[in-house]
Each structure stands twice: as C-alpha cells, then as structure tokens.
Symmetry: C2
C-alpha cells in the first residue's frame, strides 16, 4: 500500500473502485428533483434508481404530481444540499475498510480529538459560544444529548420527588415526548415554565429547557426560572448565522448543538454538548457509554471533513449561502401573507449580527403561522384541505390555531409550499 | 458531474482529492504495531501520526515497551483488521458531501432497505437465524438494541410492579449496568435467572436475557424460565462461525445481532434486531426514534459495503479467516494452561457446524479463566501483578476467582497475553 509516483503523477490503487462507483452514481440524472445514492435500491445490482423529491415521480423524477401533499412538517435541512453539491471535491471522504474498527480511540475515549479541536475553532470563528473551561461530548444529534442532559441533571436521591422538566410555550415537542417516553424514576415532564415562575415547589428540582432561537418561532430566549433548585439546558441547535443574528457568544452551563442545522446533515445523527460542571459531564459520558457507546467513527470522520470545508474562509461561504436562502424564503412567504387577513406570521426584528457585522433581516428556520379567523380554530386542518402538512400547534403546547411550517426543506418543497399558500391567500380575497 | 470516458478509460473528477488523501495516510508505516488514520492528530496539518498498539511507542510504533500492561479486558474485535487490510479495494467506500442529508429515507423510515435485504441474505447464507416473518430494526450496536428491547418488553401499566430483568451467571455485565443506570419505572434488575426458576413471583413479569454463545464462557444456551409472564431477549452477538459451531438457525421471538463481532467494526456502532411481535417492533421503533433518531446514514452505507464483501463466495473467506484466528488462539492458550495447576479454562466441546459442514474444534471469543488455588480468591489481582488486565468475574455475577480474558484483540495484544500467561505457568512450576 505504498503510493507510486510517476513523473509527479499519482497512481491510484485501492481507492479506485470506490471512487468510480461514487462518480457513476453521482452522474445519474434525476432531473433536479431527486437523487440516486450509493445505497439506493437497485445499487446492489449495479443500477441505483432515482429517489424523487415529494411531488415528483418517474424513473428520472421528471414527472410532477399535481395534487400531491406538500410536507412542511419536518425540519429537514435540505436547503443546504446545493452547497455540498458545489463543494463535491473538498467534502468527499474515503472510508477505508479498516478505518477505526476499535471500540475506543487510543486515548480510551469515544471521541476524536481532531474533531473536538475543529468544533472549538468553529465556535471561536462564528462567535456563537464560549467554549473556554467547557468539557465536550458527542451524541447522536441533539436528540440523544437532550435526554443525556436531562438524565444527568436530574435528582437521583429521592424517588418520591423526581425533577420537574419544563419548557416555555411554544416548545420543541421532543422535550415532552422524550421525557414521557423514557418513564424514569428521576424526572417527569411538568409543562410550561411560566406556570412555575412564581410558584416553585420547594421540594422539587427544576430543569428548564431554553431554546434560542426558539423552535418554532425563531425568537432569542433567556432562562425564566432562577434559584438554586433550577438547572438549565440551552438548546442552541439554531444558533447559527443562517437562522439568526448572533448578538454575542452564548456562555451557559450546558449548551447543546447539532450538525443537522449547521451543515444540513441531519441523517448523520451528530451533535455535541458543551458542559461546565465536571460531575454533570461525567454523568453524561456514562450515559453515552451505556446508551450507544459513542458516535460511529465514520460519522466523526465525515463531520471532520465537513467542518474543514465550513472553516475555509472563516465560514463566510456556507453561512452566507445559508442566510441568503433563509432570508429569501422568509421574504417571499412574508410578502404573500402580508395581504392576508386569514393568516399571520410571527414578528421578527432586524438585529445586529456580530458574525456578519451587519444589521440583518430575519431568516428563521420556521414560520409560526396563526389562523386569525374565529372559525379557523384548527389551523392544521385548514392547511391540510389545501394539501399542506404543517406541524400542529398543540404539539408545541400552544393553541391549535398555530401551525409550524418548515422553511428549511428542499427548494422543490418550499416552492410548492409558497404556491399553495399563495392560492389560499388569493382565494380568501374572493 | 458527468464522467467522461477517453478510449475506454475513466477520468476521475471530484473523488480525486479524497482518494489521494486516503491512500497517502494508508501508506504511512507504523511498523505493523499501529496505524495512521485520516483523522489521527496531525491530519489537520497534513501530517497524521501513527497511533500505536498498546505496548508500542515511538513515531513509527517500532519501540516495544517491556513492562507495559496487557489489556485483555475489552472485547475489541481487532483480530479481523488484517482481513479488511487485505480487502482494501472492495471494502472502501466514498461518502459524498451530499450523501443522504435528510432525517429520513424516502420511504419515511430510518433504515436502508438495501442494507436490510443484505442482512437477510447473510442470515440465509450462514444459516444462523431464521428471518422469516420477522421485523428488523437497526440500532447503535447491541448496546442500544438491548435497552430498546428491555424498554419495549417491560410492563407499562403498573408502576408498583416493574418487570424483573434476569440473566444466567456468568452474564454480560452491561445487562445489569444498563438496567440500573436508566432507573426506569418499568423495569429493574433482579439478578440471576436460576433464583427465579421454581420461584416466580405471580405478580411480576420477567424478561430473561439469553446469550448464546455466552459471553464470557462461550457455551450455547437456552432460555431457563417458562410461562406466560416470561419474555426473552436472545443476545446472539457471538452466534457466528468465527466463535461457535452453528448447530441450527436460531428461531426466537427477539434476537439481537451486532456488526462488532461479525466483521470486527465495533467503532461503527451498528447492530440489528429481528422481532416477531408487531407491537414490540413498533415500541422498539419509537424507542429508536426518540433515543437517537436512527443510525447514521454513512454508517449504514459503510456496513452495506462491508456485508457485500462478506457475502462474496458465500461468506467462506471471512468466516474461515475468523475461525482460524480464534481456533489458533484458543489452542495456544489451552496448551500453555494444560500443564497448570493454578489456572483452568472452561470446557468447550467439539461440535458439528451446519455452516462449515465439519466437526469443529472450539474457537471462543473469550477465555473464562479460573484461579484454582485456595488463596487465589481474587483472580483479577493475581493476573494484575503480572501486568495482565482481565475483566473481573464479579462483574459477571460470578465468583472473584474467575476472570474473562479477551481473545479477539489485535495480534500484538494476544501475543503478549500468551507470553505473560506462559511466564505465570512456568513460575508456578518452580
């Protein structure tokens, strides 16, 4: 396995088959409305087939399905896919068959030091989090880290008094779903933060989720509860220049980030937490070890490669690409809804951004849509009759006259969402 | 991104950088006692450094560390690394920057259909599990699947009567550690299976772990408890021809497998479960969704590639390689210990194997060593004085005069273990 050089050239050896296979699959045309992957069905027999975006079909995804349902439910960050297609050469990675087969890295950890260094560098470059004096752990996206944090911060001494898990409405539904699903002795979901503000039960410990910018409404948030019995988990999944101005670096005790909303690689299931308290860090490490025994080594390798691309030119290119996409989508949707009396959007202010050094227009990941008419009590159903699937307000602890619409999906999905919303608004004038 | 062909040749485009980087790193020599990886420290500045096996040091790992500690604790399956080095070309995979960024596959699942098909094909080829009429889910190694199974099989109705989790001594320590760590309302660890055999509490449900072949002692096992209040989880991590004769396909209600002990890719954190009952399957799906939201797409892609290599020539090559390695190690260790009065090994029988169609010598993954002398009550400490770190028998629910020694590690680790054991046996004769 030694490379041979002929007159300055490079003779490719064992990577050739894999490279050829990848380039062949990438060259399959799916009309811009789908994609063939190395593990698409049919790849086993040498013929991967196109996987079409919603509302497109046919062997090359060229056929539009007129009355299809638009999925604006998922926060699937496909708006960044074009950036990675453009940076094909620098973002590809070859995983050799023998790559890091061991359970552990050779410092006995489950974490790549090289990747940890790049994450610290990224936060320093963007200025969105202070990593000084923080421990770092990796997890399977924010998903796993959120429950690891809840488990680690909760009371283990007194089974009669589980920690109360709270969040401000409207809140990301997974906080409630996860806490209820795992049915632990140590914690229980206890509803809306504001209910407890002047009313804290002296026997209980509280764990408050703070989501900034908030999912679904994009507002920057601070913790509500105070005092020695309160711990906070700062979910900063969207605290990146695509989605929000960065007023100053976050400097909290426990902060959770995810690659899903940074580079768009939701399928990679990679996130990290920055933790000030050593005992909490140790408990989260134990959680990771017994839950999944760490994040796959191929994922850590790939994320490292992606972050190297992000860090080129100090992150300007990806964040500008992301911000432009989000700002344009918000502008277009706002414009259509500005003449509506039936639907309204959340108010978002222009703000200074310490990263881009400009006064910035809003660029949220989601529209938090309200049905204003008295009779439109169930906004989800109103949109559904027009073949738009949003996410029901009630899941966020809010009224059913709210719906979250995702703005981070593929261009196809967004274009169709915009078109359907426009039709709805035009109809209301008649 | 269309490939251009010149006179039958293939012009490489966007995969070139990644391929060159991978081949360069692979060509770094670490004297056969270590390895440089793409994400080794120093890779960021273009100079990855060798990561040395235990007991070797220096920039090229050429220097032996005479009094170092031999780690025979971890079941790190590095004995298969040479197989993958030999199959470099067929097992490498290129992950493009845009590979499967979405949260879900386009059938809305978290699971690659192509990979699922290959896993079914593998079980049919090896004949170690009946997959007919079984649902399949993926998880982060057996680790995540074991707890998902416990959660899904446990009682959710009556918090005063959590399901009792039991296992036969000696048992894999994670069963107890995980069950106790997650402190659920629905289940609790209740010790050794045999304690309950004729003594089942009529108000409780039981979940019995059945490990076959058993970790640590390599014995094939059957469920002990019977009746309508008993559910079983069959941990078949080691039920592959490397480690055991395969008498017949396993045909159980809930079976857990992992790639760690099949191909040796423990760092990939990939496993699967085969599940008969649909309701249990649905609960396990929900667990996966809320725990980690599925297994990384790059891991699924890589595992697919690895299984394609395994399936070449119907799996003969890898399983023969694995069996030869394990059988030789067992033979060597047995020979050394055959003259010892101080140490003994578990008895393992020659058996017919339906896969290899021969009457086979034992080839277990672990030695279950017993210190026979009255005064050697703590066998772990006895070995530790000779710089051998095993895993303490007490962790497996057994007496402290037992220790598990791993036989699946790298050749360096095994050679040193053998040498140290030989020294111990020679000393005892004096």
């Amino acid at each position: 396995m030694i490379n041979l050089y002929f007159g300055g050239g490079w003779e490719q050896r064992w990577t050739k088959l894999a490279a050829e296979e990848a380039e062949n699959v990438a060259s399959i045309s799916c009309s811009g409305h789908g994609r063939a992957f190395l593990d698409s069905l049919g790849a086993g027999i040498g013929k991967p087939i196109c996987e079409c975006n919603a509302c497109f079909k046919g062997s090359d995804c060229a056929e539009f399905v007129p009355d299809c349902v638009v999925d604006a439910d998922s926060g699937d960050p496909m708006f960044l896919e074009p950036f990675w297609l453009k940076h094909a050469a620098s973002s590809a990675v070859v995983v050799p068959g023998w790559h890091r087969m061991s359970y552990e890295f050779n410092d006995c950890s489950l974490i790549s030091k090289e990747l940890k260094m790049h994450i610290r560098k990224l936060h320093a470059t963007v200025g969105n989090a202070n990593t000084d004096g923080r421990y770092m752990i990796f997890g399977a996206g924010a998903t796993q880290l959120l429950n690891a944090a809840v488990h680690s911060l909760s009371s283990h001494d007194d089974p009669s008094s589980p920690s109360r898990i709270v969040a401000s409405v409207p809140y990301y539904p997974v906080y409630r779903e996860q806490t209820q699903f795992f049915e632990s002795n140590n914690y229980k979901f206890s509803g809306e933060t504001s209910m407890w503000k002047d009313n804290m039960d002296s026997l209980s410990n509280y764990i408050e989720f703070v989501t900034s910018p908030n999912n679904p409404d994009g507002q920057l948030k601070k913790a509500v509860l105070q005092g020695p019995s309160v711990k906070t988990i700062h979910d900063l999944a969207y605290f990146w220049p695509h989605f929000t101005p960065i007023p100053a670096p976050a400097d909290e005790d426990l902060m959770v980030f995810t690659i899903s909303k940074l580079t768009g690689h939701a399928g990679s299931r990679f996130g990290w937490a920055l933790i000030k308290n050593e005992a909490v860090y140790q408990r989260m490490l134990a959680y990771m070890s017994l839950s999944t025994h760490g994040v796959p080594r191929e994922t850590q390798l790939r994320v490292l490669k992606l972050l190297k691309v992000v860090l080129e030119e100090k992150g300007r290119e990806m964040f500008e690409f992301g911000y432009e996409a989000m700002r344009n989508r918000w502008k277009k949707l706002s414009k259509i809804l500005s003449i509506s009396k039936r639907f309204s959007l959340q108010d978002l202010e222009h703000q200074n951004c310490s990263f881009s050094k400009i006064f910035r227009a809003p660029s949220p990941a989601f529209a938090w849509l309200k049905c204003e008419k008295e009779e439109d009590k169930n906004c989800f159903e109103v949109l559904k009759t027009s073949n738009i699937i949003g996410r029901e307000g009630s899941l966020f602890g809010a009224e059913s006259r709210f719906v979250r619409l995702s703005l981070v999906q593929s261009q196809d999905d967004f274009d169709l969402l915009l078109q359907r919303m426009e039709t709805l608004v035009v109809l209301e004038e008649k």
